[in-house]
């Protein structure tokens, strides 16, 4: 079986690409290593996707997957580890299978960055979390720290301030990258304390988190918390699938104006590529747009 198009990644960008590809009569397969939906399944409520106010991220993902499958896209739960061009087509490999396709859309998204400080790895799932909406309720009436300065950190802090007794918002700079309206909202909350120009250096605890140690004003301080929610950015996934994929200095993959990567016939859609705005709308827009380029490539 030779597919016209192999899409790597079953998040909003990949599934939208699948919808557009199947409607253009391309024999399409989506490879997803775990579960369709990508990062959006962690969002309790999506309020900025046009036409679908208040939908949960999980429901949005289910509908998208259902739509792609109804249109004829195949979804294979395989972790694609590499691909290469052999003759006219691409060969894609998982750890125990091979697939062939005429073109590829990479929609492998991003993964949350970790602080990579002592104590973190041992305490993931025991107080260290990357999903406030999933895990916030385990810290009801307890003190927690949110780390980061972007919108994710700010939203997490707002969400947690309604559940937890105290929220320390820890940021390495003295101002936030995220929206000022969110910062103002947090300033108005009595149980939120800003801990700025502070660098987390260690997490302490035996079987669960007991304290976050930070470096601030030249000294060490301990914040007594039972939960630590990390929101310190993301790293693009997928660049290891082929050594010829070009990335920028921060690791995001580079595409041209037609969303083609540095490898002809391999297109990029969604958060993995270098771009200004990474939102649900821009991910789905990429998914749609790259199929025009795929069709053009396949006609050659």
């Amino acid at each position: 079986m030779i597919y016209d198009l192999a899409i790597i990644g079953g998040g909003p960008a990949g599934l939208t690409a699948a919808i557009y590809a199947t409607r253009a009569s391309l024999k399409t397969v989506v490879f997803e290593k775990m579960t369709c939906g990508g990062q959006i399944i962690e969002s309790k409520k999506v309020d900025n996707y046009p036409g679908l106010p208040h939908i949960s991220g999980a429901e949005f993902a289910e509908k998208l997957q259902q739509q792609a499958e109804e249109l004829g896209a195949e979804i294979e739960f395989e972790d694609i580890l590499s691909f290469e061009k052999l003759g006219e087509n691409f060969k894609l490999r998982s750890d125990d299978a091979e697939f062939e396709a005429r073109a590829i859309v990479m929609a492998t998204g991003v993964a949350p960055k970790h602080l990579e400080i002592p104590g973190e790895a041992e305490l993931i799932g025991r107080g260290v979390s990357f999903c406030a909406t999933c895990d916030g309720n385990f810290f009801k009436d307890e003190a927690v720290a949110v780390i980061g300065g972007g919108n994710t950190a700010l939203y997490d802090a707002i969400y947690l301030s309604d559940i937890c007794s105290k929220v320390y918002l820890v940021h390495r700079r003295d101002e936030f990258r995220g929206d000022s309206v969110l910062v103002e909202k947090l300033r108005a909350k009595e149980n939120v304390e800003f801990v700025l120009s502070a660098k987390p250096i260690r997490i302490e605890g035996e079987s669960r988190v007991e304290a976050l140690i930070i470096e601030q004003d030249g000294g060490e301080k301990a914040l007594a918390v039972s939960g630590i929610f990390e929101a310190v950015g993301h790293s693009a996934q997928g660049s290891k699938l082929n050594s010829e994929l070009k990335t920028d200095e921060t690791g995001y993959l580079i595409a041209d104006e037609k969303l083609q990567s540095s490898i002809p016939g391999v297109f990029l859609a969604g958060d993995l590529r270098q771009k200004r705005v990474r939102q649900l709308t821009t991910a789905t827009a990429d998914g749609a747009e790259c199929i025009s380029s795929v069709l053009e490539y396949l006609k050659k």
Partner: protein
């Protein structure tokens, strides 16, 4: 997959011989909803139960479940390995090693 209570947990998990997976989840948790079908595939040939952390708070607390989905593999009634977040079918099966 059978959802079990703390009482059933005692007989079906704590007193069990061999391997039993327990998926700690909550109804409102998006990643849990997406993890459930993956665990469901493993449940076709392995013993897998689900525990709702909202209904069984004390049990979740006892096992220090603080992130969900949390999958714990019990061997002869004792925790052998645990995994947090959505993982693949292969990774679930790999926990037995």
């Amino acid at each position: 997959m059978k959802k079990i209570s703390a009482e059933e947990f005692n007989t079906l998990v704590r007193e069990s011989k061999g391997d039993v997976y327990v998926d700690f989840f909550a109804e409102w948790c998006g990643p849990c909803k997406h993890f459930s079908p993956i665990v469901g595939v493993v449940a076709q040939d392995e013993t897998v139960y689900q525990v709702d952390v909202d209904e069984e708070k004390a049990l979740a607390f006892e096992y220090e479940v603080m992130s969900i989905p949390c999958l714990i593999l019990f061997r002869d009634g004792k925790e052998y390995k645990r995994s947090v977040g959505v993982i693949s079918e292969k990774e679930i099966r790999g926990m037995k090693q």
